[in-house]
Each structure stands twice: as structure tokens, then as C-alpha cells.
Amino acid sequence: MKMKLLITLFALTASFSAHAALNVLACEPEWGALAQELGGDKVKVANATTALQDPHRIEARPSLIARARGADLLVCTGAELEIGWLPILLRDSGNAAIQPGQPGNFEATRYVTLLEKPQRLDRADGDVHAAGNPHIQTDPRNIALVADAMSKTLATVDVANAAYYQARHADFMARWRAAIARWETQAAPLKGTVIVVQHQAYPYLENWLGLKQVATLEPKPGVEPSIASLSAVLNKLSTTPAKMIVRSAYNDDRASIWLSQRANIPAVVLPFTVGGTPAANNLFGLFDDTVSRLLAADKVAK
């Protein structure tokens, strides 16, 4: 009797694991959302960070180590964005599939031309990334490039469902291209708009929409704004006026509000990634909301 029970149990677990979805651990929500778009019901996605957390600075929490242990595929930004915590996850996970160099270790920045590669590397310049600015997800054309690479990775890691991923990719790309065209039309009036950003997080968005950034609130990347740095920005704005102050959902709001009141320009919160605002509930929502928030601020400024 016991033996039978054991065998049934064993068979159950075996069959369960055979049909189990591909476990994807995404370092940031945008890649989690993309993996979900491309993987459909063949993947089970968990995100290591939320849009309200600074992806530079979280800790290798116990829950993340547990998730890394069971992940079949790790999808991250790379370019040292996760350098403060991902190495520990990889080392402590005891998981061969997601180690660097394995197909299960996917770095989005490897498939995109990075902007702002620093001319010199010095900690005196703050939190600089040797490979270039890692915040590539603010340009939907980058998402398209990453989607292309990620669909191939999914097909490599989970060969059995390769055709499924290919079909999902084709479907996603058709919708994505149409969406990009729509956003570009909507955002046309934003071309040449002068902005101030809190963290150097938006060069790709600026490049895409033709925004002109004149200042950052952080005196150096990754260094919280101080009254001194904010006053300097305020000074600068008196000679080169900007239309709005842009910060990400995870940024503390006090600096942008301080400057907004004194410079008399609107402060706009962008979702930055999926989940950053209620409307940014998927990748399409992310850009719908980003564009509409920028347009709204632009109207107020006029």
C-alpha cells in the first residue's frame, strides 16, 4: 500500500516537473514583462525588483536566492546595473543553468548599442557604468531589439517550445511596431522639449523622442540630490529654462518638488518600468503612460 502511494507520488512529481513552465527570474520588471509577452503560458515569471525599487541598490535577499536556485532562465539588464546584488545570487544559488556564459543567463544590454560610454572610469564621477548607460528600456526600439534576442534565448533554453516562442515573437513584434508608430506620432509635439531629470536614467528616451536634457538633480550619478546641487540646477535654469522635471517612480519626490516650486515648471513622474504607475501595467502601458504623462506636462508648461 505504502509502496503504491510512494510510486504514485513519485509519478505525480515527475509528471509535474515534466510539464512545469519555464522558470524565468527577471532582474527588472520590464524584462519580466517582455519574457511574459514572449513566453505566454509556457513561462513562469518572477521579478527580483519592483518599479518602486532602485535596481542599483537592493540586497541579495533570501527570497531572491531561493528564486535564483530554481530559475531556468535569468533575464537581466547587465552593464553592471545589478553588480551590487546579482553576483551573490549567482554564487549562492548553486544553479548551473543561469551562470554567466550559459544560455540561461540573458543580459539585455548586450543586444543594444549603449549610449554614454564614459571616457574615463573614476569613482570620483559617482555611480558610472563602464559599459555605458544601462537604462535602455526607455526606448521602445531597444525593447524590440531585446525581444528579438530574448525570443531566440527562450527557444534555446526550452527547445521543445521553440516554435511557440517564435510565433509569440512575430505576433508581439507586429503589435509593437504598430505601437511604436503610434507613440511617435503622439509624441511628435515633444520634439526639442527641454527637460531636467533626477537621475541620468533617460538618455534613450531623449534620443528616441528628441528631448533635450539640460541638467540632472543628482550632482553625480547615484548621489542623492542636495540643496547645493539643486540650487545649482535652479541657477542653470534661469539661463537655460526647461519645460519640466522628470523623475522615475522609485525616486524620492522631494528634490523634484523643491525645484518644481522654485523654477515654476511641472515635475512629472514617469513609470520608468512596468509597474511604476497604475497605467504602466505592461510594456504597452509603460510607453502609453510615459508619452501621455510627458504630453500632459508639456501642456501644463505651455
Binding site: D54, I58, P62, A66, G70, L86, G94, N95, G126
Partner: protein, 470 residues
């Protein structure tokens, strides 16, 4: 330019002497003709120039368009992954250096430091020297060795110019099935604070239980095996270590096999987005042979005592961290506590000090003890860069039994006592790589007097970016 040339040519011609009026008229006509033909040519050249200029402009525009197209194309081409940099130095290991220093003020001399009621651990547990003193400078080098292994090396240079190997171990990378193995010299994973390097502590010194039971931190030469259970988001980690027993409470022995062994279990997870926790239970079992410590005998003459026997330590630890939405940029709180209990069972000897006028005769007797202690600390970040912390230490010498042949008066350090300490600190971290701290401690480790300790400390980290353990 061209015009001036022609004009000067004409002038030169005009300058040639003329002999006859006929000639003059003919020359004038010729000149007129030349002038006309040159002017026509110049006009032709000018129109050609204008045309070329326009063409160039158009070409430029086309080139620009081509450039932007090429850029787009290269972005598309980038899908085929960018090549890694191929410099030889790219394979250099990650190097980081910790520089730290303190300025201390204490009402009692650190050289008289003891923790009453407990066998001294022999580690560098005394408070920092009074006045200015350099902290430990720590050089860390680490790199992947090959696809399967990673190497770590930490050299600690003490302010007295002695160099010690703090860590030197190789660990497996993704062995699979949640297993990882490391071998070499490493801080044991028992407890919470034990394998965290001093520069990452929240106070300038270790809790009293660590000073007394583990000689600050338990490090050994040996192997460690860890296994993660295949759970979804709840961490369940089990591990075991075997070692040579090179640090307190163990001693090395001239024997094959192992002297010290440890097992530990960690459980941890997220309560919600803002709260996460970890709890652990560890056991360290070691043997000691002639583990000596300095004390005075019944008549106050210096002597050396030695313990041989078994030492078993249990540790229960927990840590709970809070940050609004898990974003610790502005506010965060952590509460951490550990409880340690140790049983020692063996023989104690008061070494013969008759030569120096003492009363110890080298007699050996049974020694058993059951002692415990705990600490509880909390650190709160109240604004970016600034944190405050409080810590309470409490220990109890518990039960100490000396067998026949031993005179309790010859072991004054073991007299029953409950050491305690209260510590408060404020620190400021301008960046991830630097920290300045002010700390005050009211230390009742000594049974005789209370020590008021005040320290200023700086800790900086140069080079490779370290990762943050939980």
C-alpha cells in the same frame, strides 16, 4: 583673386610701349576682346562653382541620411551580440581595498580588558587602542578561475604591521541541484554576523558574544558544503563544515582528520514587499588541546592556564529588515539578534608558576561550563546617508564547575559575572564607498569597573564594487 590676376595682366600689357595709333587701336580692340572672353569665362566658372556647391550640400545631406540609416542598421546588427573587450588585463581579478581608521577615547586602558566569568578567547577582542589608530586594511582579490570555480583572497594588514590571511578559498560556481562547495580558509557561516567582514558591521566592534565565544569571528581551514532546498521563494539552506580547528574555541591538533565541525540551517523570505527576514540555527563542535590563556593565581602571580576538552556552541540568529516598498534609499530599519550557548567539558590546568613565586602546581582537574549570552541591535536610516543604531549586549557566566584538585581562587577570571554593554552609534555614508561613524559604548565587560568608550571611525572601500549580502 582670379579677377585681380587678370586685371594686373591687363595693366602690364597696357604698360608696353605703343608705336603707332593704329597699333594702339588694334591693341585696344584686342584688349576689349580679351576682356570680354575672360569675363565670360569667369562667369562660367562662377556658375560651375555655385552648381558644385549645391551638389556638395545635397551630397552631405544624403550622407547624413545614410549615416542615420547606418546607425539604425548597426543597432539592428547589434542583435548579433557585441564582442567582449579583448585586452589582456580584462582577465585581471577584481581587486578592492578597505581602508579604515579610528580615534578612540576610553576611560579604562584597553590592555586591561577582560570579559568577566569567561575563559578569554585570545582573539583581538579588546577595544581599539586609545588615541588615533589605523584600522585593519583589507585587500580583497577575487575572480572566476574557470567556468566551474571562483577564487577569493582577503589579506588583512593589522595596524601593528602584521599581515594575516583572512580568507583564501575556492568555491564552486553553479554545481547544480542547489549545491555549492568551498574549500580553503573562510569565515564559518554559523550565526548571522560571523561571515560578515568587520568593515560591513554596523558598529565599530563585535558583539560581546562574538568576542567571548568565537574570538570575534570563527574562521577555519577546511571545507564547506551548502545545499539550497528547491523551494519557490522561501529560502531553506542547510550547510556543514569540517575544519582543522585553527581558531578559538578550537585548537589545532597533530592528528589526521578534522578537529572542528559545524552545521547550520538558514530559513528566510519576504513577509511582503517592504519586509524581509532570515533566521538561523547553528552548531559548532570543536575539540581543544592545551588552549592556553593568561590569568593570575590566588596570590596574584601571573600564570597561564590551559583547557583541553570539548567545546560545543549553539547559535540562534535572526534578522528582520524593513524599507518602504523595499526601497532603502531614504528610510530603512533592521533589527538583528543572536543568542549563543556554549558547553565546555574537559580538563583545566593551572600551569606551574612556582618559579615566579606563584602557588599553581600544574595540577589538572575537571572543568565543565554551560554559558550563554545574546545581543540585540537595531539600525535605522532616518534620511539618505544617515543612520542611527543601538545595541545591547548581555552575557551570563552560567554554571562553571571546577573538579577536585583545582582551587577556584586560582582562576579569578572565572568568577561568576554577567557582563553587559550598551552601545549607540550614528553613521554618515556620503556614498556606497565611504562611511564615517561616531560610537559610544558603556561597557561593563570587566567585573570591576565600567568602561566608557568613545570612537570616531572612517571606513572606505576602493576599487571593485562589492555586493551587498542580506
Amino acid at each position: 583673386m582670379k579677377r585681380t590676376l587678370i586685371a594686373s595682366g591687363i595693366l602690364m600689357m597696357l604698360g608696353t610701349p605703343a608705336h603707332a595709333a593704329d597699333d594702339l587701336a588694334a591693341i585696344r580692340q584686342e584688349i576689349q576682346q580679351m576682356k570680354a572672353s575672360y569675363e565670360a569665362r569667369i562667369q562660367q566658372l562662377e556658375t560651375r562653382l555655385a552648381k558644385t556647391e549645391a551638389a556638395t550640400k545635397q551630397a552631405d545631406k544624403k550622407a547624413e541620411q545614410a549615416d542615420s540609416k547606418a546607425e539604425q542598421a548597426s543597432q539592428v546588427a547589434a542583435v548579433a551580440a557585441q564582442p567582449a573587450p579583448s585586452r589582456e588585463s580584462a582577465f585581471n581579478p577584481a581587486i578592492s581595498l578597505i581602508l579604515s581608521g579610528t580615534m578612540n577615547h576610553s576611560s579604562l586602558s584597553p590592555s586591561t580588558y577582560t570579559i568577566g566569568g569567561f575563559i578569554p578567547s585570545g582573539g583581538e577582542v579588546a577595544p581599539n587602542a586609545r588615541g588615533f589608530s589605523l584600522g585593519e586594511s583589507e585587500l580583497a582579490i577575487s575572480s572566476n578561475i574557470d567556468p566551474d570555480y571562483r577564487g577569493n583572497f582577503v589579506l588583512a594588514m593589522a595596524p601593528d604591521n602584521t599581515v594575516g590571511i583572512e580568507n583564501a578559498f575556492v568555491q564552486t560556481l553553479g554545481l547544480g541541484h542547489g549545491l555549492s562547495v568551498q574549500a580553503g580558509r573562510f569565515y564559518s557561516s554559523i550565526g548571522y554576523l560571523n561571515n560578515i567582514h568587520a568593515h560591513a558591521w554596523d558598529f565599530t566592534d563585535a558583539p560581546l558574544v562574538y568576542k567571548s565565544f568565537l574570538g570575534n569571528q570563527y574562521a577555519d581551514d577546511g571545507v564547506q558544503v551548502k545545499w539550497l532546498a528547491p523551494t519557490d521563494s522561501l529560502l531553506v539552506e542547510l550547510g556543514a563544515e569540517l575544519g582543522s580547528g585553527r581558531s578559538f574555541p578550537a585548537t589545532t591538533k597533530d592528528k589526521n582528520g578534522t578537529v572542528a565541525g559545524a552545521v547550520f540551517a538558514h530559513v528566510g523570505g519576504d513577509y511582503d514587499e517592504s519586509n524581509s527576514w532570515r533566521a538561523g540555527l547553528s552548531y559548532l563542535g570543536t575539540g581543544a588541546q592545551d588552549r592556553t590563556y593568561a590569568d593570575v593565581d590566588a596570590t596574584g602571580v601571573a600564570t597561564s592556564n590551559a583547557f583541553s576538552g570539548k567545546s560545543k556552541t549553539w547559535i540562534g540568529d535572526f534578522i528582520w529588515k524593513w524599507a518602504p516598498n523595499g526601497n532603502a534609499t531614504v528610510h530603512s530599519l533592521k533589527i538583528q539578534g543572536e543568542y549563543m550557548h556554549r558547553n565546555e567539558d574537559g580538563n583545566l590546568a593551572c600551569l606551574d608558576n612556582a618559579v615566579t613565586g606563584g602557588v599553581c602546581t600544574g595540577a589538572t582537574g575537571a572543568y565543565t561550563s554551560a554559558q550563554s549570552g545574546w545581543y540585540l541591535q537595531s539600525v535605522y536610516q532616518f534620511m539618505p546617508h544617515w543612520r542611527v543604531g543601538l545595541r545591547h549586549d548581555s552575557m551570563s557566566s552560567g554554571s562553571v564547575a571546577l573538579g577536585a584538585g583545582l582551587n577556584a581562587a586560582d582562576f579569578p577570571i572565572l568568577a561568576a559575572y554577567s557582563p553587559s554593554r550598551n552601545t549607540a552609534m550614528v553613521d554618515y555614508s556620503p556614498s556606497e564607498f565611504s562611511r564615517f561613524r561616531v560610537q559610544y559604548a558603556r561597557d561593563a565587560s570587566r567585573p570591576t569597573q565600567i568602561d566608557n568608550q568613545f570612537s570616531l571611525q572612517y571606513i572606505t572601500s576602493l576599487g571593485a564594487h562589492g555586493a551587498h549580502t542580506f
